[in-house]
Symmetry: C2
Subunit: 130 residues, 2 copies
DNA sequence: CTAGACCTTGTCGTCAGCGTCAAGGCAAGC
DNA sequence: GCTTGCCTTGACGCTGACGACAAGGTCTAG
C-alpha cells in the first residue's frame, strides 16, 4: 500500500508518516518510481506508535516498542526495554498525578478563600451598589 | 529598584521581566537614562505571576490576577474575573486528573500483561541459557 | 493531450516561555 | 581615561510533533 492509504488506515497524515520515517521508526520499501510501499506489519507499527503517543509518550520512548514488534512479538510491550520504559512512564505518571493533586488542592483553597472573601465583603446578596 | 534587583528578589531573570512587560503584565517607570524602575507593588505582581505560572497557568490566565492586585486588593484572587479563571482551571485540572488516571490504569495493565507474558515464556528463574 | 490525483523532497511556521548572544549606552571607582 | 558592571533594544535558538506550502515527477482516464 502507498503512503496515502496507510495514512488513512492508520488515522493519521502522510506528513506524519514521513516524519516517523525520518526519525527511523518506519522503514517502507520503495517501488520503481520511488514511491513508499508499506505492508501490513508497518500498519501495525504505525498504530502502535500512535497509541503510545496518544498516551503521552515521546517518539524516543516508542522506539523499544517498535523494535519489539519488529522482532516478531505479537505485542510491543513484552520486551525488556519496553518494560523498562513502561515502568519509567508509570513512575512519571504517578509523580505527575501527585503534583497535579497538590495543584488541585491549592486551587481549591485559593478559590475557597476568594469566595469567602467575597461573602465577607458583600454580606448580603447585593453588593454595595444600591 | 532596577531590573536586576527585581529579578533577584523575585527569583527570576531580567529576560523574563522584559518578556512580561512586552506582554503587558508589568509596567515599570523609566528613569532619566531610560532604565526601568520598579516599586514594591511590581515585585508583588511579579511574584503573583510566578506563583500562578508555577501552578500551570498561562500568561493569559494571569492577567485578571494582576489587574486585581493593581486594583488595590491584598490578594489577586478575590476579583470576579480571577474567580472565573480559578474555576475554569480547577475544572481543567480535574479533567486532566481523570485522563491521567485512565492513562495510569492503562499503563498498569500493559505492564502487568507484559510481565505475565514473560513469566509465561520463562517459567523458571533463569532463561534458556544454562 | 490534458486534467487530476497521486507521489517526491525541501523548507518554513506553529505554540510558550523564556535563554542566549550581539552591539552599544550609562555610571562609578581608580 | 579605563575598566567593570549595570542597563538598553533586537534578534535568533530551543523543544516536539507535526501542518502547510512549493515545485516538480508519475500514473491513469478521458
Amino acid at each position: 500500500m502507498l503512503i496515502g492509504e496507510l495514512a488513512e488506515r492508520a488515522g493519521t497524515s502522510t506528513r506524519t508518516l514521513r516524519y516517523y520515517e525520518a526519525h527511523g521508526l518506519v522503514h517502507p520499501q520503495r517501488s520503481a518510481n520511488g514511491y513508499r510501499v508499506y505492508d501490513e506489519a508497518e500498519l501495525r507499527v504505525v498504530r502502535e506508535i500512535r497509541a503510545l503517543l496518544d498516551v503521552g509518550f515521546g517518539l524516543e520512548d516508542v522506539r523499544p516498542f517498535v523494535a519489539c514488534l519488529r522482532a516478531g512479538n505479537a505485542s510491543g510491550d513484552v520486551c525488556p526495554d519496553s518494560v523498562l520504559v513502561l515502568r519509567r512512564k508509570l513512575a512519571e505518571v504517578d509523580d505527575y498525578l501527585d503534583r497535579l493533586g497538590a495543584v488541585r488542592r491549592q486551587l481549591h483553597t485559593q478559590l475557597s478563600h476568594a469566595i469567602a472573601h467575597r461573602e465577607e465583603t458583600c454580606p448580603k446578596k447585593r453588593a454595595s451598589a444600591p
